[in-house]
């Protein structure tokens, strides 16, 4: 099974600077224009599948707003 990952974005820290979105090798991140953080920024989110958990986004994030996880992809109904 392909290695896969995901991220958690802290809206407390994220300032929507867009640096991670451009750094992500998989191009799966973008600003969530539908949301505003309490400080008035659009936070990032994963807008597509394909996150590998490579943590490049976390390496460039100035706010330490990201937690990166890696795990195996499984299907489940919710």
């Amino acid at each position: 099974m392909p290695v896969s990952g995901w991220i958690e974005v802290s809206e407390k820290y994220c300032k929507g600077c867009d640096l991670c979105t451009h750094a992500c090798p998989q191009n799966v991140m973008s600003l969530d224009l539908a949301r505003l953080t309490p400080k008035g920024y659009h936070p990032v989110h994963l807008h597509a599948e394909g996150c590998t958990g490579c943590a490049v986004c976390a390496v460039v994030c100035p706010e330490a707003a990201l937690t990166v996880f890696r795990g195996e992809k499984i299907m489940a109904g919710v």
Binding site: K15, L36, P38, K39, G40
Partner: protein, 185 residues
């Protein structure tokens, strides 16, 4: 007659410039005016506000405890200034970022989804002008014309292409204020 206006919000929301536009307009039209900024506990990304006093006689203190009108661009600003506005005064609320209604009953509240309007007009940075427009719509302290003229006079030439959008922002804000007051009346 003396009108005290406080504009308050996050740094970066154009708080100081909004006040300056009002001050310039008053100055250019022969009124006495003072504009004075103050910053919150943080310089970058923190809160900022400014007090504009417009009067037809010499102005003493440039700061007041109980302003006639407050433009609250974010929640902390509303929390801070709601109790301070004079009875019968005006609270202009940026409804895009402020998720609670005004509690006081003895003041006039106007809710403006300023961020949404600004983004719709193509530039988030117009938020402040929407709110200024609302102030003009809600009070007679200055003419819309006067403000537009001084905006033109004091905006650096390189930003002149943004003038139409600014005018539009002012108008939309004013429109909302007029509507609100009409309903209230």
């Amino acid at each position: 007659m003396q009108t005290e206006i406080i504009v308050a919000g996050f740094g970066g929301q154009g708080v100081l410039f909004a006040g300056q536009v009002l001050a310039y307009a008053a100055m250019d039209h022969g009124l006495h005016v003072t504009w004075i900024p103050s910053y919150g506990p943080e310089m970058r990304g923190g809160t900022a506000n400014c007090t504009v006093i417009i009067a037809d006689e010499e102005i003493g203190a440039p700061l007041v405890k109980h302003p006639k009108a407050v433009i609250a661009l974010n929640r902390p600003s509303l929390d801070k200034y709601e109790p301070l506005v004079t009875a019968g005064g005006l609270l202009l609320v940026n409804a895009s970022l402020i998720d609670r209604p005004v509690a006081r009953e003895d003041v006039q509240a106007v809710y403006v989804p300023a961020n949404e309007i600004a983004e719709r007009l193509g530039d988030k940075r117009l938020t402040n002008m929407v709110m200024v427009g609302a102030l003009l719509g809600a009070t007679g302290v200055l003419e819309m014309n006067a403000v537009q003229e001084s905006l033109k006079a004091h905006l650096p030439a390189k930003h002149h292409r943004l003038l139409p959008a600014n005018y539009q922002a002012l108008e939309e804000g004013a429109q909302i204020a007029r509507e609100t007051l009409a309903q209230a009346a």
